[in-house]
């Protein structure tokens, strides 16, 4: 059992590769290394912080229902707890890394990393304790209400997305992203759509581990969970394809992949408690939501470089509501829907203002937004002093590295 579970954990870890490739491919070549580095260090620092404080806050003894109060710097007697901690660490890293894509191409490395550590060490685990808390005794207050979030549409994805929303509001849009006269958004295409697609496929693969692993047991339900996950992803891509086709818009690779990711995020909450038909409906609507959400952010002049907020935030909210509405044992129950809605609102009210404060303080202290010169040169050069494509990139906007 433990062997199977660790294999699923490895799949969740592999999702970080997917995030890194997807986000890096959607950035311009001058920022490719920076995006990869942020994803890489999200895992490294996030894991350490989550081990030190996050795990205890989230899963420690939770008698009040609001916060875990034990297992800081944890050590265990029981073997299973090590596996559980490893699995939850991968989840925490996922929540933190969502912001990196949204804030890509104009965020300073140091400021971003401090923000990511605060997400992993405070914002994510405190909300998590309200829903999943009490592994070592007690129960979170939202769980007591009957809130269902099987693998984290809200706990992991929406919370990450609301932090990302706060981040892009503080850091502002990339230079020239919106026309200063008309206010219309300008497309900034990524430098490598092939690795975007590869990243999308890897995330999809990793999601099987993400959702199936959340059963915390190796029983027959794994097959249903994995199948629901797969169907929702397919439906998400189909939903966005239909939207683009019906509206006569070009069928973009990036949006299609985001559609399937939206489907995956949405099914995460209810993958164990929904029928296959409902999983397909959930994914299909998530795809539509991702497309509308992307358009809405553009209208509001919020620059989400990879579409992380529609995918993880808006689709996450929809998926959480769908988990209550399509609950197989008690479908179309308004009370369930109400509880789910409360959970979504609470997630926003907790994560967004706090992340806004965190990023605002970071901007005022160590600095979050890259200067114009840094954006001109590219963050690979200014933050890391190395280039992603030294031999092939002919558009150099900075002095040679040797100087």
């Amino acid at each position: 059992m433990s062997r199977l579970f660790v294999s699923l954990v490895l799949l969740v870890f592999f999702m970080q590769t997917g995030f890194a490739l997807l986000e890096s491919g959607m950035a311009r070549s001058k920022n490719a290394v920076n995006v990869i580095m942020k994803n890489y260090m999200d895992v490294c620092l996030g894991s350490l912080v989550f081990w030190a404080v996050g795990f205890g806050l989230m899963f420690g003894l939770n008698e009040s229902g609001f916060l875990g109060m034990s297992h800081l710097f944890p050590d265990f007697d029981e073997d299973w707890s090590f596996t559980f901690l490893l699995f939850q660490t991968m989840f925490a890293a996922t929540a933190a890394t969502i912001a990196s894509g949204a804030m890509a191409e104009r965020t300073r490395y140091m400021g971003y990393l401090v923000g990511a550590m605060l997400i992993t060490g405070l914002i994510y685990p405190v909300f998590g304790s309200w829903v999943w808390g009490g592994f070592f005794g007690g129960k979170g207050w939202l769980a007591e209400l009957g809130f269902i979030d099987f693998a984290g549409s809200t706990v992991v994805h929406s919370v990450g997305a609301w932090c990302a929303l706060a981040g892009i509001m503080v850091v502002g849009p990339r230079l020239g992203r919106f026309d200063p006269v008309t206010g219309k958004g300008r497309l900034i295409p990524g430098h490598n759509l092939t690795i975007v697609a590869l990243g999308g496929f890897i995330l999809w693969l990793g999601w099987f581990g993400f959702n199936a692993g959340s059963t915390l047991q190796g029983d027959a339900s794994l097959g249903k969970i994995a199948l629901n996950t797969h169907l929702a992803a397919c439906a998400g891509a189909a939903g966005i394809f239909l939207c683009q086709a019906l509206l006569g818009r070009p069928v973009l690779l990036t949006l299609t992949i985001n559609g399937s990711l939206g489907g995956l995020v949405a099914i995460t909450a209810g993958c164990a408690t929904m029928s296959m038909g409902h999983a397909i409906v959930t994914g299909l609507i998530a795809g539509v939501i991702v497309m509308l959400g992307t358009l809405m952010l553009e209208m509001l002049q919020l620059d989400d470089a990879v579409g992380a907020i529609p995918v993880h935030g808006f689709a996450g909210v929809w998926g959480t509501l769908a988990a209550g509405w399509f609950l197989q044992s008690d479908p179309y129950n308004l009370h369930n829907l109400w509880v789910q809605a409360v959970g979504c609102v609470v997630a926003f009210l907790w994560a967004f203002p706090l992340a806004l404060l965190v990023y605002w303080v970071l901007e005022k202290t160590i600095g979050l937004r890259a200067s114009n010169l840094q954006q001109q040169r590219g963050l690979d050069f200014t933050e890391h002093h190395e280039l992603g494509y030294p031999e092939f990139d002919h558009v150099r906007l900075h002095k040679p590295l040797a100087q």
Partner: protein
């Protein structure tokens, strides 16, 4: 004549409440050169024009209200005419300008001038006009105390002599500012290609001398 002196004294009375003397004189100089003799309503345009000088200390609405109140005061209630200080400032600037025009741009500054000039020529005319407008707007907010005028003059005259008084950091900032304006007018992708192609072409055509621009990139 009487109106002109009165407006100048009123402005001096109001502005010195929030701004230091050098900034007040810079603001008054703009009034003298571009706004004097125009009707009182031109005060609105004037306050917009000098906004970069005061906007971090006081908002335009307060300043305008204060100015309207001071304009109707009696002569005894106004500060003395700042004309002597303005004359001293003008004399000092003229002396500095004579010194500045004796300055010759360095080889690196000439290289930067050639780079900027060749890049601007590659922008289609309507967009070049927009680019100039954006650059002028950025210059007003970033470069103060006369340096704005020098760079604005440079953009108009395309004369590298105007670059001679600036150090490397200021010129790097200036090139970055042109890039920002290009991002706004041309879009970020086209701006990257425009600057990248400009630098590549300059390096290809100037051989070893092209290294001179590295300090500004």
């Amino acid at each position: 004549m009487e109106d002109r002196i009165r407006q100048r004294r009123a402005l001096f009375t109001v502005l010195q409440q929030w701004l230091d003397e050098a900034t007040v004189l810079e603001a008054l100089q703009i009034f003298e050169e571009q706004f004097q003799g125009r009707p009182t309503i031109a005060v609105h345009d004037y306050l917009t024009r000098i906004a970069p000088l005061y906007q971090d200390k006081v908002d335009a609405k307060t300043l305008r209200r204060e100015l309207m109140q001071v304009l109707v005061r009696t002569s005894q209630q106004l500060a003395p005419d700042p004309l002597p200080q303005l004359q001293q400032l003008r004399a000092r600037q003229q002396a500095e300008q004579r010194i500045e025009f004796n300055l010759q741009p360095s080889a690196e500054q000439l290289a930067l001038h050639q780079l900027i000039s060749s890049m601007l020529q590659k922008v289609p005319l309507p967009q070049r006009k927009q680019l100039h407008t954006h650059i002028a707007r950025q210059l007003k907010t970033r470069f103060r105390n006369g340096s704005y005028d020098q760079l604005a003059q440079y953009m108009l005259a395309e004369n590298p002599v105007y670059l001679a008084r600036f150090d490397d950091a200021a010129l790097r900032d200036f090139l970055s500012l042109i890039y920002v304006a290009a991002c706004e007018v041309l879009g970020p992708v086209a701006a990257d290609q425009w600057l990248g192609a400009g630098i590549a072409a300059f390096r290809a055509s100037h051989g070893a001398a092209a290294q001179a621009i590295n300090r500004y990139l």
